[in-house]
Symmetry: D2
């Protein structure tokens, strides 16, 4: 932490900072410039960050030198985290195509979609049984019946599946069915839920909050990690900006940024970020080109009849065409798909 | 809902839209311009909004005419909702000063603060026992012991109190102590928690998500309202923008905007929006001038020693000075404080 | 400037930084923590900031300690800048009500408005002759004829006037008429234009770019100031955010923030920030309560017929009612209006 | 335009809207729902949009059906605009690699870079002689001397070059040297400058304002187009968001969005959007994968010594490696590079 003093800071103000640091067993390195005094704080980062520096007289601001997270950083673990789920792999030079319906609506809808995406080359199935809807009047999902159908599809098509968990009270039940749990964008900072999935022995996909910085997102991953669950998959799904031609703005740079800062795998969601069917394929190709470890895409056999997010679902044959392009791109970039 | 067709939309495309509307017992009013056909959909808004218009061939986009919420709108109830808690009032031409520590840290810290804010004119006490901390290593609150202290302070100083609820599993317990429940900014879209507090007989303060639009915020209030709890208080606490000189950007316009669109009371949080001690008083004055129904302010007897958010807490004597200004302003604007 | 080194930075990397600083006659204060080395650079800020620190091997990032501007800062001049224009005053404890039509459309429209706002208590007249329209097909203003009318209104009603300048080639001509020049939000970073108005002997109102941080805005003021024109008035007019219920989001906190960081006067534009007629009065009252030095408001005798921005103009009688409230508020806060 | 009336709108209010539309020779299609009346306005879009609908009694809001631009839209011209400059091509299925120094600093720096990027496969050279610097104390460019050097490099390496124009007074002079003019992000809404370059017979690269929506950006292109210059190249270069791990957030979706809405070519600037050297190659690859028509990249033989934006420049050998990947990707996607 670097403590920048105000222009008129006195010897007493500086002394108080030094003493406060001593109180947490930390050292102060004082640099006196012509216009400002700057104090480098050296010691335990956790204890130094707890001090309300802005409330101390004579202090202008405190600039953290280190990130607030530790275990998910590249510094803590230089090599990539690789996650294996049945025959699928996330991270470690493999690109994982994940696809399926946004919400499970019926056995027929799910099975038709699962078969199509498996045949096209998807390695993991998506499909939700609980939906966080912004309107209290919307379809909320099939609940446990939906999970049961997903479990049957897994066996039928040999595809592990990922499903969203919304409520800490459901974590145990959903873990009994799903291969991978997913934390949605609205729950990225729901710390109670993060702690709960941190105690489960299943990989967790952590969607970026649509208003979270990369640092906050990695910090949320830290919450899960420190509870003992080290299999966290980061999912970039667009952030809220002033632009309205897409539902959110896909922050594609976040993929290489996270891979620089962390050892966790990062995948991209072209469907929910854009909210537009015709943008899914271009953004999916870009996900591979930018170095992400996979994508997660909504596919629906009849989007016009979809109960949730039909606007952005692509058709099974469109997914198959996309996968042909993905394979050509992967070959060109020497990535396994 | 207005359905805007693409330039090349055919008779078949238009016919399909008309038929889809008929399927939800709704009418289609077709306007044919030189460059676009536009279809006005008249019928049940809920059923019309469920249709994935963007997925239909020939449809460019669908523009909603009505807001997604209904019960919290001014159209549904033209007169102001007025909420009474012991001797305090929210809404109905009264400005409610709410103050207290961000987090309850000890009996002494709480009681000193409560006495000071009561003497200065606060009508409701704030103080949290559960804190949603962005870092898993930070102080998380005193939990039920903190609520017990708040309940004692209520009796000692005759001040009803508001406390945050973070987890749906805690709603019942916290309701046993607190006079008003608060939903924090990170939980505004936690629909499970909203439903839970919607079933409790205590007023609920609903903080705006720092990345939520006014419409989304009112929609979250609708979630609570439709469960049967009609005493919802809206709290503007700043939104995330590109500006970094304040912690968030206080959207002061949101107060008159919400009061135009809804009958619910709206208060302003100058402490958490700015994150800066010296900005609290100016923004508190602006809250009254803009027509808000109250403010909620962090006060701490020793901010430098605060365990949470000390950077923005003001001192008891600063709060007393602010209240003098507030009373003069209220008199000038003929508002009761 | 503080240079934060990467975790694996070597002695050579640190040596290169020290040498680079020596090359601009600056000193390096090295602090070695357990995880990072941090180097405090002490010397000429301008020369240190020119170095592309991010391009140097071993450097993680450079954190500026000082702001990029100097002359407009409170440190350079602790006392308020006070600007006098005929009988009007900006800064120094006086609140300046500025009002008039957005665009000058005709002699009648201008004179009716000018008389009304003068009678209600405005001290400066606004009215533009050149309009930067987002569409090439919109009304672009009366040009020099408009300035001529404004000059006549000035004499008729004894009101100095402010008018926008869009093009560096027009600065001299417009300065021949207007009492105050205004730089619009889209030109805040038009450095050629800033330099040009910096060489004129007229006060300049500098609107905040709707996507500019406070630091960038003060930096733009510095551009004007360093050319010799020290009479700069800062105008907060809303920033672009994700919220769409108002045209822009008025960043009301910016007024006290700028007044802390700079000696220049700051006024608020409730009309263009909100874009909504019914929000103008509440935001104007908030401007005074938050400590701004004035407001600038669009008034039009017939907004439905306005050629520019009629949506947000208030009527002359609404302005008169607002001014009554402003006077009561000013008295309560002991401000001169 | 669709006019949505307020809930309590009367027959008189509706009649006034109808009459106002008649005044601009337009028709009104009235749809009366249970809660709202909606009026479809059919006629000349330009004249209808000029009416200040928000100022009319009984009107809630006006929703435009058509975009404000016309000539640059796909509806106006379905086939792609293809621009040829010497042997280089922009649009029409060709990917144009544009590279060179951010600013021309010396003959040696320019020629070394130009030779390297030409050898690696760049088809257009970038290099600026005038720089819009946020600080008045920074290097402002070599001016006409820089253009002279660029013109020499063009002949030496057979590379057409693009250079930025900042001031309307310089357009003619710069056009005498450069093959393509560039409007920078800060000038995207400088309508005087747009008109000026619209009258020149040279292609114009129009950078997106870092706070402009796609609609505003296309509208700026319309400004140039309607003056007679139809060779406009759109450059996505990142938008301002809350994220700070990159300089701006590259809105990669904007490339396919613009190509859907407009016939103009779109290229991507990975250097200025990210501001980080190690992100340039991943984003450049993503530009091709997403379907953009080219990229523009900063290359510098010695970034640590660069006078402008050294943090983001890549080295000549890094550019050569990137071009190898680009060629493999282009082959996989059947694009000419």
């Amino acid at each position: 932490m670097i403590i920048v003093m105000k222009p008129g800071a006195t010897e007493e103000h500086i002394g108080a900072v030094v003493q406060r640091l001593a109180g947490v067993d930390s050292e102060a390195h004082i640099s006196t410039g012509q216009l400002r005094t700057v104090i480098g704080a050296i010691g335990d980062r956790g204890r130094i960050q707890q001090i309300p520096w802005g409330a101390m007289s004579g202090v202008e601001r405190a600039v953290p030198v280190l990130k607030p997270y530790k275990f998910v950083s590249r510094e803590f673990q230089p090599e990539d985290t690789v996650i294996k789920v049945r025959s699928a792999q996330l991270g470690g030079g493999v690109f994982a195509p994940i696809a399926g319906p946004c919400a499970v609506e019926s056995r027929d809808q799910l099975f038709r979609t699962a078969e199509a995406v498996r045949n096209a080359g998807a390695t993991i199935l998506r499909g939700d049984a609980f939906k966080p809807r912004t309107s209290p009047f919307s379809f909320q999902g099939l609940a446990e019946d939906g999970l049961q159908l997903l479990a049957e599809a897994r066996e039928e098509f040999d595809l592990p599946f990922v499903a969203e968990v919304l409520d800490p009270r459901d974590v145990e039940m959903i873990s009994g069915y799903a291969d991978i749990l997913r934390i949605g964008t609205r729950n990225m900072a729901n710390f109670g839920l993060l702690s709960e999935v941190g105690r489960v022995h299943k990989p967790v996909m952590l969607k970026r909050g649509f208003t979270a910085t990369v640092d906050e997102w990695l910090n949320a991953a830290e919450y899960i990690y420190k509870e003992g669950n080290h299999e966290v998959i980061m999912v970039e799904r667009g952030i809220r900006t002033f632009e309205t031609s897409t539902r959110n703005t896909l922050d594609i740079s976040a993929a290489p940024v996270v891979k620089t800062m962390s050892h966790l795998p990062v995948i991209i969601d072209p469907s929910h970020s854009s909210g537009r069917r015709h943008l899914v394929a271009p953004l999916a190709r870009a996900a591979l080109a930018v170095g992400a470890d996979g994508f997660i895409i909504d596919v629906h056999p009849d989007p016009e009849a979809a109960l949730v997010d039909g606007d952005q679902a692509i058709l099974p044959h469109e997914f198959a065409e996309l996968m042909e392009q993905m394979k050509a791109l992967a070959a060109a970039l020497q990535v396994t798909i």
